[in-house]
Symmetry: D2
Subunit: 361 residues, 4 copies
């Protein structure tokens, strides 16, 4: 069955853009239609414009596509546009695209705090996409652009289990998380210099802790009464403290989490059961990329490990291990998620699949 | 000035033993006198018995020493004996040595919980060594063996700043710590298999979290009224939660810590000042290996880093960086300490220097 | 279409055994039928007996199979038996299996120099398998066991381009090769200790250089007139010098090669064309695992690279790059091949497919 | 004894410049006098201008020095100027400095092929510095600038043993070398991106093979009859083939070498003896940084290794191991040298010490 929807990619030559292209190259629903990059690349076949740095070969379906400038008119036939643009460019360009009536699913941080832009981890808060239904209804049939934001890469692996636990055991009073994040999260050229990471780690990632302490408030929050904006969980109702580190791992963000619940104190066994049983609209709507299990609960002492577990369910699942009592809070555990799949490009693809399943594109 | 005291090393061919030998090879106070190892090694010159794996060459002063079996009579002239024995052997052998009237400073875990064995990080609780004064006084001049324990390698880097903060701001109500620990902590042959750590991390170190949650209770505790045993801080008075990870770093354990004080809420600036001003008997008694600063407080955002900072003050200092408010507790920061120096062999050497400075050996 | 042939695996819990199982788990021709391991493992379901260390999950088809001891009677229904046994055990066990009439395809080094055992890299010398035809013919229909050897892991990546160049330009007078070999080649537990390889390399692999200097003489040699034994290229007709290093790479052996031809001096362009055009019976017989291209010739300056190129054609291809004139010999280039696929288990699978295609099993 | 000579450093904030400063910070002969860097850094104290990336702390003697622009007048009182400038800047600036009568010892590649500029590895060809004696004599007492070039980092470790072997066994007919080079050779920011080197290697370093195939011709060549220019060994008299790789090692270049002699065929034992016995003017003139042994010959099978052996003699020695017969040429072995000490800044310091010992500055 041929794809029915046309997809564009902004920032197509960058590391997130390359991942979008890989994931779209043989997608049943979306046809890779337009590739946008800088003026310098525009006019060249994609294979000539890109320095391809993936472990699978550049898909033939993409290699011959002539790169366009990132102007809305070049993408006007796209049903959905994925943006892998750097934050320096995403602000202006994405705004123009939305104003031109396009649906943008962006990996950039620029609009994540905008009150009417859903910030979505597709296996954590797919229902937030429903505000687009309201927006479209209010537009009375006029074509209506829409800005959707993919979360920060480390947020994704944290909020999926948080959502499952909140559903099962009620509000979270406090969350402490220390991450050990992969190098691909910083991009390729140059990304993290090798002299900074061989026989070393960096106990700091600029801006990351702020994102990790803030984004879960919106993702685990609710749609406001207007059906269009979002109501975040106030800081005093869910305190979060994050410490973020860069380690010598290519792909896969790991986090050590401690959680205190407001009204309950589940046992480790109850927590594991809740995580195992957690399902999501991404599965119920039978989207193409939905993982077989949203959360893999691992029983071995020394798992999850990035190299061995990051590719479970093609990188769309979160792995959780070492669930145990916490002597300070209630529960502690380790999570792992693939930072360029569930934490970036893959999330965008799954969001688009959800939009399609919900008849919003 | 020639060394005045004779030192022996148990487990001399192992990784901790090698470190003891390096640190003793040109020590002003201690002469490397007897090297003990397994029967298989006994009778060989040390250079032939050992597979030397240090980044500095095998000291000539050690290479010709003929290795002995680990029997008390072979060490009877030693003023102090350093033990780098594996836990499997340390139990019986160290007991025999103490019964034979020898002073043992051991890196093994076996006797750390023994109520009359000091568990000492020399820049955190040097006063705990004073129980030996009582022991000797009670012996009425008879030669009296004594068991002293070096802390677990990850404990050292944590308790030094904890001690400084407790001294400055009173009791600690809760401590959460996530460590990223170096490979040398697991020994050399085989230690951690390389396939487990290249492009990977292991979110588990057997027994480590227990140690890190328990040892600070004794180290930050007090000498009991009998002058001989120790009174630990009860669990309910200082809750500690640890998550321990192995990362691709050769030397240097890093930890991300959050602290809640019982009775105060110091600012980050006050915390940094308290850490900077912290001094210890190791310095006041002018011991040879005492660091110039017990704690280095780093102001750069992205420090401490293992490769760049582990060797400060020859590995005897603890580096602390990123001191900042914690949204859940009061304060959070990152510490780094050299796991084979302050966290193991170096601690043993500094303990011996303290015993000497206190006229206990 | 259901598999038609039954396959057994010896040494099923080891690292090579695990790879055999992965490759057989959904194979169209072979059904994973019997798993053999040590007495300690025998009687347990495979999932309980193995410490699974692959980046893909343990196949369900294998997890429930009850492990057997490595006795011929347990494997008597197998059409082919793959051996991942350690050299310490392979000698005796494989001998018994062959004597019992079984066809053994072994990764062990034990029988590689046996004069009537084919030593086969399936994309380099598939015709050597034809000696089994003679053996079977001489047996007059009696069931006849047969020993086939997979080459050393670093040999595979070298001899495939050597074969292509020998076919195109005649005998090779001299070959100098320096390898940089992956850690998985040394197994998992313990394999190479991590302290030996982080921020380091080891310029030595026990026995490896001998293998690399000898095995190509047999692989590029000919079947003797008896149709059963092999005639190796004499040392003086093809001199080979190898230097082998272990580097911090998980999978993928890289080699820098210089070649002097006896009778010709092809240009780099001619060499690249010959490599590109090289085909093999593995392709012509349309075996399931044959690569789309036996040799990928890469034009970018800085390729092949292990992380980016080792999985081309699922690890069954060899990548060659940097083909250029050699100031000392004639031609130099860099090769890369996947040491656990083409260099070990995958070679075994492809050999079995060839046997099947040739109607020898 | 206070230093008697004033030293300047060009490119002081770069990675080579940082190394010069470390090595000069407590040097008995040279006083760190002027630090030159870009306009952007000029006017700032060095501690503020530099992003210090060494494993030892920024020396206090350097931290307060106010950085100057790289103009000859700012360095006019310097007896010697060390240049760590990038090739992009070194060409013009160094020319101006020499024209202004200054002695420049440069790590840049720009003037290495200039016929009257010595290209010196101080433990390989210290006698090449004597051309400055002729230059000064011809100048009749007028102040005379002079350009001296430090070799490429990988050349240093190769030519020292080559010189020893040429002295002992006569001309070298052919040399094949494959290097595995450290990351610090590419600088720090950004240097080699980490995504290119974790679980990977790069079989290419731009321009490196050319340098390694050419520089030994000059270094092992002779001073011409004019006493001022150099006569290189012609290509046909000493053929060299190099293949250069980047590997995941912070410091220390390793090379696998095969050598064919023109007129002799020494045994491995003879080669080892010649390497062990090799001495150099750097030692005979009792310069401060001369290594205790120019070449360390290691007998263990698996050495030299970068992490364990790069710091022998503070990085000024070359380690050679695995000396054995070569089936194609005569002899093969592995060398290791510290790329930022003997291969760069340290070479510069030792050259300056030689100039001083020879009364040339």
């Amino acid at each position: 069955m041929a794809p029915t929807k046309k997809a564009g990619v902004l920032g197509a030559t960058g590391s997130v853009g390359q991942r979008f292209i890989l994931l779209l190259s043989d997608h049943p629903d979306f046809e890779l239609s337009v590739l946008g990059a800088s003026k310098r690349s525009a006019g060249k076949p994609y294979a000539d414009a890109v320095e391809w740095k993936q472990t699978t070969l550049l898909p033939e379906s993409a290699s011959g596509i002539v790169v366009q400038e990132c102007l809305p008119e070049n993408f006007k036939d796209c049903d959905v546009v994925f943006s892998g643009l750097d934050a320096d460019y995403a602000g202006d360009i994405e705004k123009q695209f939305v104003e031109a009536g396009l649906v943008i699913i962006s990996n950039a941080k620029n609009y994540r705090r905008q009150v009417d832009a859903p910030l979505v981890v597709p296996t954590a808060n797919p229902e937030h996409l429903d505000t687009y239904k309201t927006v479209k209804a209010q537009a009375n049939g006029a074509k209506k652009g829409f800005q959707i934001c993919i979360s920060n890469c480390s947020t994704a692996g944290l909020v999926v289990p948080l959502r499952a636990l909140k559903d099962a055991f009620g509000p979270l009073e406090a969350v402490t998380v220390t991450t050990m994040q992969a190098l691909s999260g910083a991009g390729f050229s140059p990304g993290v210099p090798s002299m900074d990471i061989i026989d070393n780690l960096i106990p700091y990632i600029g801006g990351e802790e702020d994102k990790l302490e803030w984004e879960p408030r919106k993702i685990l929050g609710t749609i406001a009464a207007d059906g269009v904006t979002f109501q975040n969980i106030p800081e005093e109702d869910m305190r979060i403290s994050a410490q973020c580190n860069r380690v010598a791992v290519t792909d896969g963000h790991t986090g050590c989490v401690s959680i205190k619940f407001k009204n309950s104190k589940p046992t480790p066994e109850q927590v594991k059961e809740a995580l195992r049983n957690y399902t999501s609209a991404a599965q119920e709507l039978r989207t193409h990329s939905a993982p077989s299990k949203i959360i893999h609960v691992l029983e071995q002492n020394d798992r999850p490990q990035p190299r061995l577990d990051r590719d479970r369910d093609s990188g769309y699942a979160v792995s959780v291990g070492r669930v145990r009592e916490d002597p300070v809070f209630d529960i502690k555990f380790v999570f792992l998620s693939h930072n360029t799949i569930l934490g970036a490009a893959g999330s965008g693809i799954l969001i688009a699949e959800l939009l399609l399943a919900k008849n919003l594109i």
